[in-house]
Symmetry: C2
Subunit: 249 residues, 2 copies
């Protein structure tokens, strides 16, 4: 196994960081790594906002649901899907690109571009001995996040990423069985086998939690999912995204 | 610079592959690497479909716009956002999760989860001496792609990835200036400086194309973007995605 695959397979989210800021050089390496990712038709439809302002970090930590590691880390990044850049270049070229820039297709491109860049950033950081945690919690209240970071129309903060020197390293969580995620030549529509795989996976996850909590935590993956998805969080998203002139047509 | 960052910065899309299939072991390493990526609230909202059936690959190559490397490669992967798994587990747990599974929030989660996994897959492949190319072209005609791969409701193919041993290695394309992509503590809303950065970048891109084509190709980034975005491709996406019971509310 080479160093890249080792870094990839060794990933776990870090939620406790030492008080040591990233250097400017580390930040630059992380951003340049992000930029090296593939991008749909060279569109580069994302922007990364680095946050080191203490008050802004505090506010983001509150908004993300009192996640202290959003405030206490080596650097905090916010990854945004960005089609504002293309509105500006349309102005420069004296054309109107409003309709395609407001399309669901281009919204998907922006989400995917930003995520590809982010995963490069994550691995670059991890390869330098840093730990990372993606923060979906910034989507709890995007209107406030957009205000706080002066985000213009056509741009949507998608997730944050806390980066820093790990204080406490956690265990790796077992993933879904490979055959449940990977199908060959067509989707596996045999629901019985699909369910069997999930039942098997529930056993793996139950054992994982029991072992880590000396038997205190009883949980399954499907149970956890029902609870999490059933909470119906962030149902304001469709309307808000459309207000930002994204995903509208 | 470590091996991980070197692999990341060395990325270029490969569009010409040797006739040598990936081994089962290589495919497994790539999929396990994909699965190691972070996933929003552990939701694992994606499925990867490996395609080695010759006729299906031919059809996908046509649909992607006559891209021969979709057919001729070591293995072809289709990355799908997947919330069908969660519909099935809701059935198992006897609850109704329809509303949140149809939300824009969960659609974004599925797009982001799939892209994070894909970028891990890409880097794992590249670290093994393979080349990759993301194929957004499968979105040209998703109804047909969904038929071809028996994709159920709640699942959306997002992009393909051709993987194989590179026959021809191309140059790396220069990215947007770092300061245009990376802002600190808030979005750079100074449009004059933003435009200056794009003008400077146009010069970089023009020089890049001129050098590679002995002066034959005159192009700028903003010109290229106006052409590509102005083509208004895939404007059927919003309606189609909603028909799949995604991004609906």
């Amino acid at each position: 196994m080479n160093e890249v695959i080792e870094t990839i397979l060794n990933h776990r989210s870090i939620r406790s960081f030492k008080e040591q800021n990233l250097t400017a050089e580390q930040i630059e390496t992380i951003v340049r790594s992000a930029q090296s990712a593939s991008t749909s038709s060279f569109v580069q439809a994302y922007t990364i906002i680095g946050v080191n302002d203490r008050e802004k970090k505090q506010r983001l930590a509150e908004l993300a649901g009192e996640q202290s590691y959003v405030e206490n880390n080596g650097h905090f990044f916010v990854f945004c899907g960005d089609l504002n850049r293309h509105r500006i270049l349309a102005e420069m070229e004296d054309v109107n690109l409003q309709a395609p820039l407001e399309s669901t297709e281009k919204f998907m491109v922006a989400c995917i571009d930003a995520a590809l860049a982010a995963q490069n950033a994550a691995l670059a950081a991890e390869s330098m001995g840093l730990g990372i945690c993606y923060i979906g919690g910034i989507r709890n209240d995007l209107p406030v996040v957009c205000d706080l970071l002066s985000i213009p129309e056509g741009v949507l903060p998608l997730f944050g990423m806390a980066v820093g020197y790990p204080k406490k390293v956690t265990d790796k969580k077992p993933r879904l069985p490979l055959e449940n995620i990977y199908h060959e030549n067509g989707y596996n529509n045999d629901e019985a086998s699909f369910k069997d795989q999930l039942i098997k996976y529930n056993e793996t996850i139950s054992a994982y939690y029991e072992e880590r909590t000396d038997g205190a935590r009883k949980d399954t993956w499907t149970g956890q999912m029902v609870h999490m998805i059933g909470a119906k969080s962030r149902m304001y998203m469709k309307e808000f995204v459309e207000q930002r002139n994204l995903n509208k047509r």
